[in-house]
Subunit: 221 residues, 2 copies
């Protein structure tokens, strides 16, 4: 490929994508995979922008972060772009995920085909509920929470998915961190406190619904 890029002090040529940009890269990637299936060899920034709901300039800026693949007058070569985005997002490898809290939400996530498709492999399940411990779900045994250190030491999950009630969330997060997890996807309606070397993405459904209520109220002329 191109070059080893770690931004030089001051004026690096390629800055790393911003957080917002990363979200859009995911969306581009999804669209690109569809396009490739449809046999489209190249895409323009306008096409991608339309599909994702952003301007063409925004698309070009986002894609500039990952190197210059575009050909003036032509567009971007679909397969190369897919590979490049996958690499930037860290999807050119497998990620193993541990899930804590086996309720309806976790079941929904386990059944969701998008995850394995993108290289996320769920490798361990945990719950405190004694009636669930020992059962199997999609071929995986449900472990008790206090088995977490041993089980995680063995299966080496890098990501943790927290789907427990708010009261239990911090405790669970701490246990996962202690077991060496590198990142958490939190669904509990709670603000988690983690050491700086552990990454966190939170999906707070109440907050999202309240955002919507706010927007609707605002747009009530």
């Amino acid at each position: 490929m191109a070059r080893m890029e770690v931004s030089r002090d001051g004026n690096g040529v390629e800055s790393r994508p911003s957080r917002a940009s990363v979200g859009r890269l995911s969306l581009y990637l999804r669209r690109l995979e569809d396009l490739e299936r449809e046999g489209s060899g190249t895409v323009s920034s306008v096409q991608l922008g339309d599909a994702v709901g952003v301007t063409d300039a925004q698309v070009r800026k986002d894609l500039a972060h990952i190197g210059s693949l575009g050909q003036p007058g032509i567009g971007y070569p679909t397969p190369e772009l897919i590979t490049a985005i996958r690499r930037v997002l860290g999807l050119d490898r497998e990620w193993s995920v541990a899930v804590v809290g086996i309720g309806n939400l976790s079941r929904a996530l386990l059944r969701y085909r998008g995850f394995p498709q993108r290289g996320f492999r769920i490798v361990a399940l945990f719950d405190t509920d004694a009636s669930k411990v020992g059962q199997r779900l999609d071929g995986l045994p449900i472990h008790s929470l206090d088995q977490l250190p041993e089980v995680l030491a063995e299966c080496k999950a890098e990501l943790g998915l927290v789907a427990v009630p708010a009261e239990a969330a911090q405790k669970v997060a701490d246990a996962l961190v202690a077991a060496g997890i590198r990142g958490l996807l939190n669904f509990a309606p709670a603000v988690l406190r983690l050491p700086a070397n552990v990454n966190l993405v939170s999906v707070d459904l109440t907050v999202q619904l309240e955002q919507l209520a706010f927007l609707v109220q605002m747009s009530a002329d």
Copy 2:
């Protein structure tokens, strides 16, 4: 730079909270409700900031959007602040919600106590699956999708929750919009296209998980 801003009523210049700010207001509100339960009559911006993980200046800016309730040297009166935030977010009323796509995700949301607590009432369920139609879930009957116009005309749901596969999402969204819905919370991994007068909040789990993968990969020391 005193630009003419559109402000509601008489007292002073209140700009509306930004989107990001609204998310934080939700978090403040949750914390404030806890504090009130604990009997705390006033809060400082430092306390709130610590609880939510933002700076005190950020808290003050956010709260300034909703009027000046704070008392220098004292802090903010908890109950008044709660009321004010509720009003700004549109939580001083009930919202009726229709849910389309009755899978594990919807079941998780139906069971989630945070929603009714905040005034979100689920009033109708829809699914295409003939084996589900006619069944009841938490006391509510599951309707077929083509009953959507009639049922929604009667129960007057203002918000729609889309929890169907990506392929069906746009069609469902269109149906909800046609039925007069004012806002959508979308869980399908798809970019929806809606008329400007219908609000949209999307929760794309794949995107979130990919964000996490990116962050973890980036922080690989």
